[in-house]
């Protein structure tokens, strides 16, 4: 959303798994900006590097993941921006959750099974706001749970005593308890029923209105994203191949991959259209195709696609600063 101020600027960001010869680059030179208050959707097929990017940005990648390049600049409201990649461990700890929180895919696995949910909630508050009195902490935790629709008497439950949907709500509540600027959500609802999924997302959107945080929302379900997010970035083979407002992307996608991806979803309403799917299989990180990673599966590929890597930029044909694409097809080559 042009004009809005950025809250997180990811620049030329690369992530490797392993070191030296065995290194596998799972995220390549990603540049992406999250603006204050928006929901940015990140889509792409399995293995395209969505989670890796999210974990990399918060430096939570498990070994052997290493960040091999780039910067992630965080803009605190009304303060100097700083690079998350340059923080020391202690600084990082203070940064986490207070500024950026994460909701993972499986809530059962994100909650420690042996602690009460109240303990886990209070832990966060205690770690970041040690001055707060225990009563105040408790009150805050209760408020937060109420906000996500969990009654205070479930505070002392253990994770296994809650249903999947409730656990996911607890996680969301926990993510918001410190009122961070950014909430990263990595497929937070894939394990849930569609009914439950819609309920939770509706609640989240409502909370965003109230608290004003930004969301980086990751999923491979494009139809969900189109409906839910302000902007969408499509990843393929570790790179962002297209970025646009969700409505624009849905109506008029520029990258052949996005196009095909959108055609893979059967629609529930409207006329039954023919679906084609995407032939071929996803690229292997160890042996990435040269040039555009999508060219072996692309119906429009031509010579240049297999030699040069397309850069992400505002396509000449559209000249709309709010969208960018990485493709060599005529008219999609960036201006300048």
């Amino acid at each position: 959303m042009a004009g809005k101020e950025p809250v997180l600027e990811i620049r030329d960001f690369s992530v490797d798994y392993g070191l030296g010869d065995q290194a596998v680059r799972a995220v390549r030179d990603v540049t992406l900006t999250l603006h204050r208050g928006e929901v940015l959707g990140l889509a792409g097929e399995s293995g395209s590097g969505k989670s890796t990017l999210a974990y990399g940005v918060t430096r939570l990648l498990p070994p052997p993941g290493v960040i091999s390049g780039g910067s992630v600049t965080y803009h605190p409201p009304g303060d100097q921006p700083y690079d998350v990649m340059a923080l020391s461990n202690a600084e990082l700890r203070a940064f986490r959750w207070a500024e950026t929180s994460i909701v993972f895919q499986g809530a059962m696995n994100s909650l420690n099974p042996v602690h009460k949910i109240s303990t886990q909630l209070l832990d966060v508050i205690k770690a970041h706001e040690p001055r707060l009195s225990p009563q105040a902490r408790l009150a805050r935790a209760k408020d937060m749970l109420k906000l996500v629709g969990i009654s205070a008497d479930r505070m002392d439950a253990y994770p296994h005593q809650l249903s999947g949907g409730m656990r996911q709500r607890v996680m969301i509540g926990m993510a918001l308890v410190l009122e961070p600027q950014i909430v990263i959500m990595d497929e937070p609802t894939t394990a849930l029923d569609v009914v439950m999924q819609r309920q939770i997302l509706a609640q989240l959107v409502e909370l965003r209105e109230r608290l004003g945080f930004s969301v980086l929302f990751i999923t491979h379900d494009l139809s969900l994203l189109v409906e839910f997010s302000d902007r969408i970035a499509i990843m393929y083979g570790g790179r962002i191949v297209e970025e646009a407002k969700s409505a624009d992307l849905y109506k008029d996608s520029l990258h052949p991959y996005s196009e095909r991806l959108l055609q893979s979803f059967p629609a529930l309403r409207g006329p039954r259209r023919e679906l084609s799917g995407i032939p071929g299989s996803p690229p292997d990180l160890r042996g990435m195709p040269s040039g555009c990673a999508f060219h072996p599966r692309c119906p429009h590929a031509f010579d240049r696609c297999s030699t040069d890597v397309p850069v992400l930029g505002v396509p000449a044909a559209r000249n709309d600063p709010s969208r960018s694409v990485a493709c060599w097809l005529p008219g999609r080559i960036p201006v300048g």
Binding site: R59, V66, G69, P81, D83, F95, E274
Partner: protein, 346 residues
């Protein structure tokens, strides 16, 4: 209403060749684990000695000589006993008994644990209840005292008998692990799928389930071998089992009954003990290798330290991903951390 056929052909995957590693290599991959490799080499060495020991031993281990209680020398590498017997020969010849009992007990216990564990896990119901109760009882009843009691009361218990006694009393742990694993395998789709294809129960157990238990069975086998070796040596050492044949426990028994350490004859005592420890270590290493093979998380990767952009060395660890370099384009914004008092100290 139907999709064009062209779509279907287009879908035909001709994706990249996914690492075309031959299957065999995958199964033996755990040998590539340095721990497993070290363990296997040492183990192979002991096995070799067990086989050729009697031929390469420089002396008859029971033969007396006039060199009574001699410290190690060129003639007697590990010195001699109170009867002038060559300890090196005893250790070499004694390897066979140790390996024999260890392996046989391991085999017996493994076969029992597979039979009981897998059938209990697969059959379920009353059979499962009964068999797992049996396993639990054997698990809780202390094995070594039981072995001592049983071994001490069987007349003429030779190596074979000792191996059987150990084998018959130490299958329970493996059975329990296998049962749990079988229970989880039984629920796997591929077992259901095999059933739905029409495979017989017997074939499902032997061909579909058992191969997937290989690592656990192997690990249980190794564990039992360790236990059996220790038990056998213990029995020999406290003079309970028949010690007609030489083994390391017998050597220690003689050393102890002749008060070797009090006499200062450390050489009588140390080699056999070290041999046990080395064999035990080798077996444990193989087991670690298997464990790491099964659960790759346990593998301690070679590179755990990396160099960061400012020249520091940082450990790779959960929760704090190291940052290697910055792209030179934009100089990173100088870190300015809000030292907001309300947010606590940094």
């Amino acid at each position: 209403m139907s999709a064009p056929a062209s779509t279907i052909t287009a879908v035909t995957p001709d994706g990249p060749e996914v690492e075309a590693a031959p299957a065999k290599r995958r199964r033996l991959r755990f040998v590539a684990n340095p721990k497993a490799a070290t363990g296997l080499v040492v183990l192979a060495f002991f096995c070799l000695i067990a086989i050729i020991g009697p031929w390469i031993a420089p002396y008859d281990p029971s033969a007396r000589s006039s060199d009574l209680i001699q410290p190690p020398s060129a003639q007697h590498w590990f010195g001699t006993t109170h009867l002038g017997q060559d300890i090196f020969s005893q250790v070499v010849v004694g390897t066979r008994g140790v390996m024999f009992v260890g392996l046989l007990a391991g085999i017996v216990a493994t076969v029992l644990s597979v039979l009981i564990g897998v059938s209990s896990g697969f059959l379920g119901g009353a059979a499962d209840e009964g068999l797992s109760a049996l396993a639990n009882v054997f698990l809780v009843i202390p094995a070594l005292p039981l072995i001592i009691i049983v071994a001490s009361t069987i007349p003429g218990a030779g190596d074979l008998m000792v191996a059987l006694v150990i084998g018959f009393t130490s299958w329970a742990w493996g059975a329990r692990v296998l049962r749990a694993q079988t229970l989880s395998l039984r629920r796997r789709d591929y077992v259901e799928a095999a059933r739905a294809t029409g495979e017989s129960t017997w074939r499902i157990i032997t061909v579909e389930i058992l191969p997937n238990l290989t690592a656990i069975i192997a690990s249980g086998f190794i564990g039992t071998v360790i236990f059996a070796v220790m038990s056998e040596i213990t029995l020999a050492f406290i003079g309970i089992s028949t010690i007609s044949e030489w083994n390391w426990g017998t050597i220690l028994f003689w050393a102890q009954s002749q008060q070797a350490l009090a006499q200062g004859a450390w050489w009588w005592f140390v080699p056999a003990g070290l041999a046990i420890a080395v064999l035990g270590t080798a077996l444990s290493l193989v087991n670690f290798g298997i464990d790491e093979f099964v659960s790759p998380r346990l593998r301690s990767s070679g590179h755990t330290r990396v160099r960061t952009k400012d020249g520091r060395t940082v450990r790779m660890r959960v929760g704090f991903t190291p940052v290697l370099t910055t792209s030179g384009k934009d100089a990173p914004v100088t870190p300015v951390i809000r030292t907001d008092e309300a947010k606590g100290t940094l």
